[in-house]
């Protein structure tokens, strides 16, 4: 062998400064495009209503909706209704979470139980759950309970199926590790099965929370005297279209809030997962 050997220890290379680690454009882009698109949408809406001179009963101007929404924020009754919807959603969702994850873990681990219960699980999915509401009202009255149940029943299915999938997807190599360490069943559950299924459970929750809101609102809509769903009906009956829109805005904001709450939960609970790492 001959010839000089190149060495490059003279070349000093520094890591990129911390602030620029993430691609700037990607994280900033939605903050620019989203407001722009919203403005465009509202502008089109405003332009359409004013040029066609559409009746405010059909479609109010964006400004009228804004005014109505501000009015909503100042009304104690509207806040009570919002809180009531939040209550129904959260309580229904928590029931769905407890039962969905609990049952999901059992079905994912015990084959014969899964085979036995599967037809019933599918039945809970295909049954038009909203159609059960009158029954719940007959059984539980006009209070919050029947709505909580509808919210829970709707949110239950995605949480259950995702939990089952999560428990079944536990890596066999990981299981071997626990077996060779002589881990107890309990340890295998807490140290392996639960953390390994958590990403699945959380994405079930992401879908479930949105369904719980729908359940709550539809419940209030069909048989209630409180909540945003109930408000929707009364605004409709009073021909207050701008108010109707204001309630829809309120519901949408609620949806965003819950959705981002579950996303925050994901960041908190599964920071190791690639779905979080990439973002």
């Amino acid at each position: 062998m001959s010839g000089p050997v190149m060495r490059d220890d003279d070349i000093i290379s520094l890591p990129p400064p911390a602030a620029r680690r993430k691609p700037m454009r990607e994280s900033l882009l939605p903050w620019i495009t989203t407001p722009l698109l919203v403005l465009l949408l509202i502008g089109t809406w405003h332009f359409y209503v004013t040029t066609t001179k559409l009746s405010a009963f059909i479609l109010p101007t964006p400004y009228a909706v804004w005014e109505a929404w501000l009015g909503l924020l100042q009304s104690q009754r509207a806040w009570n209704n919002t809180l009531s919807t939040i209550y129904v959603t959260v309580v229904g969702f928590i029931y769905a979470l407890i039962i969905g994850v609990g049952l999901g873990v059992l079905l994912g681990r015990i084959r014969w139980l899964e085979l036995t219960l599967n037809p019933f699980v599918v039945a809970t999915q295909v049954i038009p759950k909203v159609a059960l509401l009158p029954l719940f009202i007959v059984w539980f009255g006009f209070g919050a309970t029947p709505k909580v149940i509808v919210a829970a029943v709707l949110a239950f299915f995605p949480i259950l199926t995702n939990t089952v999938l999560g428990v079944k997807s536990v890596d066999t190599g990981h299981r071997d590790v626990m077996t060779s360490l002589n881990a107890s069943r309990w340890q295998i559950f807490w140290r392996l099965e639960l953390p390994s299924s958590l990403p699945y459970i959380l994405s079930g929750m992401e879908v479930g929370i949105v369904l719980a809101i729908i359940g709550a609102i539809v419940g209030e809509y069909l048989g209630g005297n409180a909540g945003l769903g109930f408000m929707l009906v009364s605004k409709m009956n009073g021909f207050e279209t701008d108010g109707l829109f204001a309630v829809i805005v309120q519901m949408t904001l609620l949806g965003f809030f819950f959705y981002f709450a579950t996303r925050a939960l994901q960041r908190l609970l599964i920071p190791w997962h690639q779905s979080i790492a990439i973002r």
Binding site: D176, S180, N182, P195, I270
Partner: protein
């Protein structure tokens, strides 16, 4: 006396998968004793039952027939794994099988956590181990931030954490490139010398086998059984240059010829 005591005893260990017409005879009755502190390499063509044999020794698979003792204790009794015998064993798999939701340090200390050791003590032990396997400074990282070779190092550290007498390794470096593999072989030799473990290692690589082994057990397929046993007496510590010596090449050639005959 103690130096020649047996760490692992297999007496007519046999394995069938399935039953009836579909049954696969994965391993014919096999006898093998591994001495304490010995480094035995299992070598053989694909499907000859190396993994099956190692998983039986590791308590992950129950032998269909035969007697299996680890550290003079029976590993199986009435279809139950014996925890006492199991705690003498540490396993390293082809995939590192680290848990992605745990930091490197927590992965390494997982066996200790399962055994109920306190947090501070675990952390300290993990620190010692990362130093031993050469990944100091990576304790707090997620496992996905490690390279393939570093993951295997972490997996070895995890297997060593509770200080088992025996290390079982199934193609631990099979997924690594040739250069990293050489480095890992040197490292394994060093770790083995420092910790004085008994090691049973499965590999496809003839040069890895000759480089590492005290004894090479060559298995032949259908059904899997021991074909030849070769003692490798080259002095230690061996450097990578040993591969150029006539003795090394003789053994490698013998193995290569025999392997082509039996596969």
């Amino acid at each position: 006396m103690t130096g020649t005591s047996t760490a692992i005893e297999l007496a007519r260990i046999e394995k069938w998968f399935g039953s009836g017409d579909d049954a696969v005879h994965a391993l014919a009755p096999t006898n093998l004793d591994v001495a304490e502190g010995e480094l035995v390499v299992l070598l053989g063509p694909s499907g000859c039952g190396k993994t099956t044999l190692l998983r039986m020794i590791g308590g992950l698979l129950e032998p269909t027939l035969g007697l299996l003792k680890v550290g003079h204790k029976e590993l199986w009794s009435n279809g139950n794994r014996q925890g006492q015998a199991l705690s003498e064993l540490g396993m390293v798999f082809q995939d590192a099988n680290l848990f992605p939701w745990l930091s490197v340090e927590d992965n390494i200390a997982l066996p200790l956590e399962l055994k109920g050791m306190g947090k501070a003590e675990r952390r300290e032990r993990a620190r010692e181990l990362t130093k031993l396997v050469g990944i100091s400074g990576f304790e707090k990282r997620w496992t996905r931030e490690l390279s393939g070779g570093m993951r295997q190092r972490a997996a070895i550290a995890r297997a060593l954490s509770y200080n088992p007498k025996i290390l079982l390794m199934d193609e631990p470096f099979g997924a690594l490139d040739a250069m990293t593999r050489d480095t890992m072989n040197l490292e394994l030799q060093r770790i083995w010398t420092e910790t004085k473990k008994t090691i049973v290692l499965v590999t496809h690589s003839i040069s890895e086998a000759v480089f590492l082994a005290d004894r090479i057990v060559l298995l032949s397929p259908r059904p899997g059984r021991i074909d030849t046993i070769i003692n490798v007496t080259m002095p230690r510590p061996r450097s990578l240059d040993v591969q150029a010596t006539p003795e090394f090449q003789d053994i490698a050639r013998t193995l290569r010829h025999r392997l082509t005959e039996i596969s």
